[in-house]
């Protein structure tokens, strides 16, 4: 887990220094301690949505890993957004898991969410074509003698 940078305020600061509290919350997680001792977190909507998105992807990814570990193909099909893994042969599935794990770690550390989404979307496109034998052969067959035409 990346280290959580936080600033802690008392609930009374919301009345006296609300601008400072809100500005701080835009840049880092901001803790607000209530009089009863409970602590609340204030963070931007972008950050909250990002955290929720990563958690959702991580949850589905965990379901996939569990299913793969148990050789449970039904479980792979039911692994949410990673159900496309059922279309991949074992070696490509393994490559997909490694790459997704790396992208997930980058996103969790504050890196690009776009990269994580791109990795997943690219693998979905790959899996869909890979599952269609005729289409796959047409796209990937060796071209030893291509036409000489050049499109202008």
């Amino acid at each position: 887990m990346p280290e959580l940078r936080t600033m802690t305020y008392q609930v009374s600061d919301l009345a006296r220094h609300y601008r400072e509290v809100v500005d701080n919350a835009k840049h880092e997680d901001t803790l607000i301690r209530d009089k009863d001792g409970e602590t609340l977190v204030m963070l931007s909507l972008d950050r909250a949505q990002r955290d929720r998105s990563i958690a959702g992807i991580a949850s589905d990814f965990t379901r996939l890993l569990r299913a793969v570990a148990m050789s449970d193909e039904i479980g792979v099909v039911n692994s949410g957004r990673f159900s496309f893994a059922s279309l991949l042969p074992a070696d490509m599935r393994s490559e997909m898991v490694d790459e997704t794990y790396a992208a997930l770690q980058v996103a969790q550390s504050g890196g690009s969410m776009v990269s994580l989404h791109d990795v997943i979307e690219d693998w979905i496109a790959t899996a869909e074509v890979w599952a269609d034998t005729g289409l796959r052969e047409e796209i990937f067959e060796d071209a030893d003698n291509p036409p000489a035409d050049v499109l202008i």
């Binding site: 979307e121 496109a125 790959t126 074509v129 269609d132 990937f140």
Partner: protein, 121 residues
């Protein structure tokens, strides 16, 4: 539309970024599919052709519509050279699959289908 490639037609410095990419076909089937798509959807294909000439590797205009295939097996051998394969989605059901050769600045068209194969099943 398509012309025969003559000797010495390749750009002197294919690595230069301002040099437009040549577009070729990895098979006669791919060429026929491209020609049919141009007849069926001339505006879309004109736009796709320009994009392939100018920036076949660019995903910034719409990241979700250009996907490089993943995995060490998802490559195509053209004239003995192993190249990546990309999938472009010019329409919701249409697909263009192509292989960019960065060294030669050639885009090889592998297959064109303006109706997604699954819709024909």
């Amino acid at each position: 539309m398509a012309q025969r490639k003559g000797k010495g037609s390749r750009a002197a410095n294919p690595q230069a970024t301002d040099v437009r990419w040549s577009i070729r076909f990895s098979s006669s089937r791919a060429k026929s599919e491209w020609d049919k798509a141009v007849v069926d959807e001339p505006d879309i294909m004109a736009s796709e052709k320009e994009r392939l000439h100018a920036r076949p590797l660019d995903r910034s205009d719409n990241p979700r519509r250009t996907h490089p295939f993943k995995g060490s097996r998802a490559t195509k051998r053209i004239l003995g050279k192993k190249l990546p394969v990309l999938q472009r989605e010019p329409t919701s059901g249409g697909r263009i699959w192509y292989s960019p050769d960065k060294d030669e600045r050639i885009v090889w068209i592998n297959k064109v289908s303006l109706s997604h194969p699954k819709e024909n099943e």
